[in-house]
Symmetry: D2
Subunit: 345 residues, 4 copies
């Protein structure tokens, strides 16, 4: 089968690989219909993710059709259309029982990382019964691909951790795909203000179309001052960090109001400064989270009932044959305007 | 009247001052029966607290008898025995309505800071009806003094923010009075493990008597390793920072388990390092809080029903005349073994 | 001044009454601009409310201008435009401190009940600083009148108690003004399904316009069966009782799913049957509540940010002179189509 | 093997039955070491439980040793000592994913009900990996048997649903084994008052030894009055119904305070009266629950850390050979003083 393979920092190719086989009673083999590329795939290609070894098929998102199941699988059947969660969850370990699937003792984020992933014609998914979700009748496959990772990530790490609530004020730092996913899902809770902050005016314009009440281009260095003006000097109830660098995390510390939350989504590679000398008395929380995908069933319902429209995140489509072009478009988003690209296998 | 007055960094004296008078309809004048000294008073004396100007009477804790009330006060009366909260709360502003009394628009921590405090024969308390608590019949006055600040601080900033729960694991870094207050109040939720960490073996011995299940002297630099051993490699559910320096905050980052909370109580004077490059995916929260004293009525019930015994925190007693000696004992706790000192006015 | 006075069961008239005066330091006198009639006023007129004696000026909703304040009032001033909460809250008692303003020791629902109310040119409001809310600049006065009672009631008793959540299923039994208020405010949480149940097709048509996803006319006695069909046999997550009779409360028991909530809003006059022999093992909650109006500041923000439009509830307008006609229109809603009627003083 | 078999209302015997065998990949066969009798077993014997057909081996509690596992079981092994939960949970269905194991699509309370149970030498347990809990080293087997059902039931249905909290007031109606289990586990949250109500002075004496702060013999019909005296007229924060008849449920309605919870544990066979005409405005919740056993891992930790001592519930011990005598002692508890009886297989 064809598969996009990581060959070490900066190197990838579309290779021919053997079709995966069932290895454990809980496995399923899924024939991929549609997949996509995540910012994390770019991190891997920069050599930032130690757990991902050369030779690995990338990709942790997608929808497909079940091609085979292990002997222990009783609730899924060959031919079922399923959504593949980016997080594999055994459903049995202490962390899974607590709803922290991201820290599953034998799962977590393994697809396209420590085991082969979804940017291929087929993928083996461990713990299939608790990591795949049957598609409801009439579901839009491309919309469903957005439920593998980006929507639950924006929602769980940003919106839920950030305690977004009716009437509250939210600032989202970073208007890339993940920041926009937080923007879309934040509106499930009807906050009064959603302030979007980025350096790219084109993305800020998209943010306005997606429902941001205010946008700030932070290029001039006074984003914090602008947020204070917009919140009558109080700061926001929720500051969502959707970039992953020290400067944006500092900005979040500057704009969070007393009693508020800084909800980190960004993947950070460096130690950052925390101004506890100002924040110790401010009654705030700073939260981190690798998405657990516990909200996937709920998000599926909100998509099916048209409360959010994930298709707005999709800008480009490519067949699997041309996945290298897809990577190219996704990596050069400033030029191509790419948000999420769909790969059809 | 006699009062302990701050005269600038390093300078204090017991002075004669005029008795305070009612200034606003919501004020009360309280004749002090018993007060105490807080670590924050030492911060002021080191010049660390900008809001506290020379000439200020110190102290924000105590019990007393109401001597006079303003025209707007209808629910308190001259002669009532009351507990003075360290936090003044108007009960009307947005923050008070949200239960965040610490950020009250016209209150918060003002006693012995931006207005004169309780280390005197009398004190004026603004917003009296929502900042004083009538003592129940038969209440022990010295126990009640512990409810002004130290017990609600340990409980709200450490235990509540830290989400201590039945069966959970807790580490408290710092076995001073505030860490011990967290230790006492954590037991209201029956955690399975409370690991106390300090450099002073005498305080660790007290911690064991107060209910710590394990103690670690961190002098050898391997406290984190020991905590990991005690928690089967998982780290603790709750790490309470009760010191206020960078090193202890770093230790908390090292010992908090996936899904856990670092609950900061310490008053920090410096920016600290936050290892987001390790923590971004660990599903943790870091919380800060200036005590709101919203839990005072509840803590009063737990003291009256003997669920916690605050008298265990009291090691020394002095008359107001000898308050300078009391400061001396409190400042040299390593030698004197002082935890909380009672001043009788 | 002119005032609508209750003279015993079935009797009311527009009388001339003396203008109210300040009685306590916390009082304000408010000149009424706009008020409305509540279903509870009709209960009083039927003689169902024992606490309301003949001679009482009715009304517990409205907006107005402050005409005078007591000596203890420091945060409100003559000339301020304010929203009058139906619940008076002292802000000091144990219940107010817990956010249960409805059970305030010296307040609660007293306006137009145990003290004179708002269907008059002026009203005296006790505990003014914690029971009146300044109108934001540019606020629509008629929209604000809906925040006195009906929107917080639908929201707190129905939506909050009912734990309405993104993707969840909700049934509202009763499409009168209060059921419609629950319908409007439920959408702040983006449930996937809102099923409206009533006997009146005209009201069900309005419910569809207001956002109901499904409507059921319960005249044929099979409403429960229809709800089960719409929820794949599971029943709803939230069943909101917005009528106040035994039959509708029974219907809620029949349609609530395992793990769900029956949130009662209705004012009940009779004991009802509870089928514990079926429900004991169903993991449900049944909740009751007199509105606390703790959500008023939040709802104000959602109205100002256009997340809900309370004007949709207003069908008729009358000057105070013609308030008897307004009562007539409101009482005969089946004929007049009245939802909420605005009275301009 | 020997097994206690239900043969229709009023009929049971100790029979010889074939040893159970693995039927599904997720099954385990457990050799029983210790089991016990539950009040629900008596309900079955009275013919009250329709799902339990004649010929069924009774029992849904116990500890044992794994004798065999199905092909899909990877985390449990022959020889493991395990606690058997009274609730079987697949870990995959919507309800299990929500933590509502009691409503598992293919599990729930099935042991000793719709499939053969634990009062035998061996038992087949479906969904073994998510329904059995390995015993920690050094665990007391008899204490562990109390974790199969009675402790999680008292805790989840009574204490958690009842929102017992530090400083709160609790009344438990019914001092039988399940009421006493609620009493033991309520203390994990340090309430200020636990009032135990029963008709049997011997059980009330035991309740005092177990930590009740007050006891009331309700024989004189004035239990409600006594509770009001003990709570300064306010009623309790939590009223736990641990009997299952209309009269005790009515008593709970009489004694619950404004803002409180009536947490039902009792198994009810009849419709009951609910006084909504008094309760509609009282801001209360009434909760029901079939135990989910989600708290089993946590309770295990509190037992191992000596926060609760389940052995206090055990009054009698019998070998499996004499299980009919054990039933006799348990059924005639008023004479024998039996709380929980241990059966050794």
């Amino acid at each position: 089968m064809k598969a996009l393979v990581y060959h070490g920092p900066g190197q990838k190719s579309l290779d021919e690989r053997p079709k995966p086989e069932i290895q454990a009673p809980g496995d399923a083999i899924v024939r991929i219909l549609k997949t996509t590329i995540c910012g994390t795939d770019l991190h891997i290609l920069r050599g930032d993710v130690e757990t991902c070894a050369p030779g690995r098929i990338l990709g942790h998102e997608g929808v497909g059709v079940i091609d085979a199941v292990g002997s222990g699988v009783t609730t899924l059947h060959v031919g079922d259309h399923v959504l593949i969660s980016c997080i594999s969850s055994c459903g049995k370990c202490e962390y899974c029982r607590r709803g922290m699937f991201s820290h599953c003792a034998t799962g977590g984020w393994i697809l396209g990382n420590s085991i082969d992933g979804t940017q291929a014609e087929f993928v083996r998914t461990p713990h299939a019964e608790t990591s795949l979700y049957p598609l409801p009748d009439g579901a839009d496959e491309e919309a469903m691909v957005m439920l593998s990772d980006i929507l639950p990530t924006g929602f769980e790490c940003g919106v839920l951790n950030g305690k977004v609530a009716p009437g509250s004020s939210v600032a989202i730092v970073g208007a890339g795909p993940i920041g926009l996913a937080a923007l879309l899902t934040a509106q499930l809770y009807s906050p009064a203000q959603i302030i979007m902050i980025d350096l790219d005016n084109a993305r800020l314009e998209i943010a306005r179309q997606f429902g941001a009440t205010d946008t700030i281009n932070s290029a001039d260095g006074d984003a914090a001052g602008r947020v204070m003006e917009l919140t009558a000097g109080r700061g926001v109830d929720t500051a969502i960090e959707a970039v992953g660098v020290a400067a944006t995390f500092l900005l979040c510390q500057d704009i969070v109001g007393a009693g508020g939350v800084v909800a980190n989504i960004g993947v950070h590679g460096q130690v950052v400064e925390l101004h506890l000398e100002r924040l110790w008395s401010k009654n705030i929380a700073i939260t981190t989270r690798l998405v657990d995908t516990v909200s996937t069933p709920m998000l599926l319902k909100t998509v099916q009932s048209k409360k959010i429209d994930p298709l707005r995140l999709i800008t480009h489509r490519f067949p699997l044959d041309r996945i290298l072009e897809a990577y190219d478009a996704f990596e050069h988003a400033a030029d191509t305007g790419a948000l999420k690209v769909i790969i059809e296998a």
